[in-house]
């Protein structure tokens, strides 16, 4: 059994290394240090860093960051905490019970206010994949981005696809501090 796990681990490590090296080799001709950067990308990264480290935020460049347009999903944290505990105590089930929420603010962006939220929890990795299903009211609805931020500052994002589904992978969860996640919608830029 242990040998099997070690073999899988090594296989995963090897796959990860090859994947990393392939990307680096593909771009051999690009000088990383002087390559041009997308507009506003570095400014956004610096603004996020300034927020994270509690320093002053660069005001002139902050405008380039996406505008947070809407709302917090209250109660999700409690649901996720409960689900995490369920997984921990049952030692088997990976999927949390679907949470139905009513978010009136979504109407302004062309979506029904009722949403479904699911979570697949990997207690082993202390992460969750969170899926939210929204229903567009109009043929053309605003493209929304769901941002989940932990108290430690880790950010995970997902964009609502054509079917009204947004999947946010690898969300860090902790049994010790299950209520530290912040959920926010914003308009895609």
């Amino acid at each position: 059994m242990r040998e099997s796990i070690d073999h899988n681990d090594r296989e995963h490590d090897l796959g990860a290394v090859v994947s990393l090296l392939e990307i680096l080799a593909d771009l051999d001709s690009v000088d990383e240090e002087s390559a041009s950067l997308p507009d506003g990308g570095l400014a956004e990264a610096r603004a996020s860093a300034a927020r994270l480290f509690g320093g002053s935020e660069p005001t002139a460049e902050a405008d380039t960051a996406p505008t947070v347009a809407s709302m917090m999903f209250e109660q999700i944290e409690g649901w996720l905490a409960e689900s995490t505990l369920q997984v921990a105590t049952s030692r088997g089930a990976a999927a949390a019970q679907t949470l139905d929420r009513h978010e009136p603010g979504l109407v302004a962006y062309g979506y029904e206010p009722d949403v479904e939220i699911d979570a697949d929890i990997d207690a082993d990795a202390a992460t969750a994949t969170i899926t939210v299903v929204v229903q567009p009211v109009h043929a053309i609805a605003a493209t929304l981005v769901l941002t989940i931020t932990s108290a430690a500052g880790a950010v995970r994002r997902g964009t609502v696809n054509a079917y009204g589904i947004v999947v946010v992978d690898d969300v860090p969860i902790s049994e010790a501090s299950p209520n530290d996640l912040r959920f926010e919608w914003s308009m895609a830029t």
């Binding site: 681990d9 090594r10 296989e11 995963h12 490590d13 090897l14 796959g15 990860a16 290394v17 090859v18 994947s19 990393l20 090296l21 392939e22 990307i23 680096l24 080799a25 771009l27 051999d28 690009v30 990383e32 240090e33 390559a35 950067l37 997308p38 990308g41 570095l42 956004e44 990264a45 610096r46 996020s48 860093a49 300034a50 994270l52 480290f53 509690g54 320093g55 997984v87 921990a88 105590t89 049952s90 088997g92 697949d120 929890i121 990997d122 207690a123 082993d124 990795a125 992460t127 994949t129 430690a152 880790a154 950010v155 995970r156 994002r157 992978d169 902790s174 049994e175 010790a176 530290d180």
Partner: protein, 194 residues
Amino acid sequence: MIMESSSVDAADLTGTFQTYVGADLDTAVEIIYRRALRLSRGEAQAAQDLTQDVLVKIMSDLRAGTLAPVVEPRPWLRALVNNQFIERYRSETRQKRGGAQRIGSLDHQREKGLDPPSPTPGPADTVADRDLRVRLRAAISDLPPTLRAVVELMLDGHTHHEIAEVLGIPENTSKTRLRAAIKYLRGFSSLASE
């Protein structure tokens, strides 16, 4: 020298960052972001998230007092991005292969004496960093020495220009050896999955 955690104050984090990392925050963010953008194949949002994850890790280590002063900031920062990329890749691969089915409770992990999850990473994360380095070295241990030397330096965040200087070889030779190493490792990878 490892810093004392009690000496870290939130207001001083930016200054502490510069003292220990050896680069100011803006410069470091640029180095991290450039590598993250490269590994994200130019996808801006993914690069932002990767950058943020690396900064969170540095901040956690600074707060926990587990960060020793960095000697070579540029490769060190790039290596952190490499490691974060690898951890994400492993996590995604495990999920795709049904790793979530192998769930043991967090309490169970503690019962077994394994690392409990913690919102404030401590020395265990330094151990985890070392563990990752050891694991990656093991994964490439079958490479011929000349190829392995290039790959190890690449994993440590060095550019071909830097590798050429360290090993005393032309830059193009470093690139050629990297491609040969990938070909070699791909062969192992396909054998391992059979």
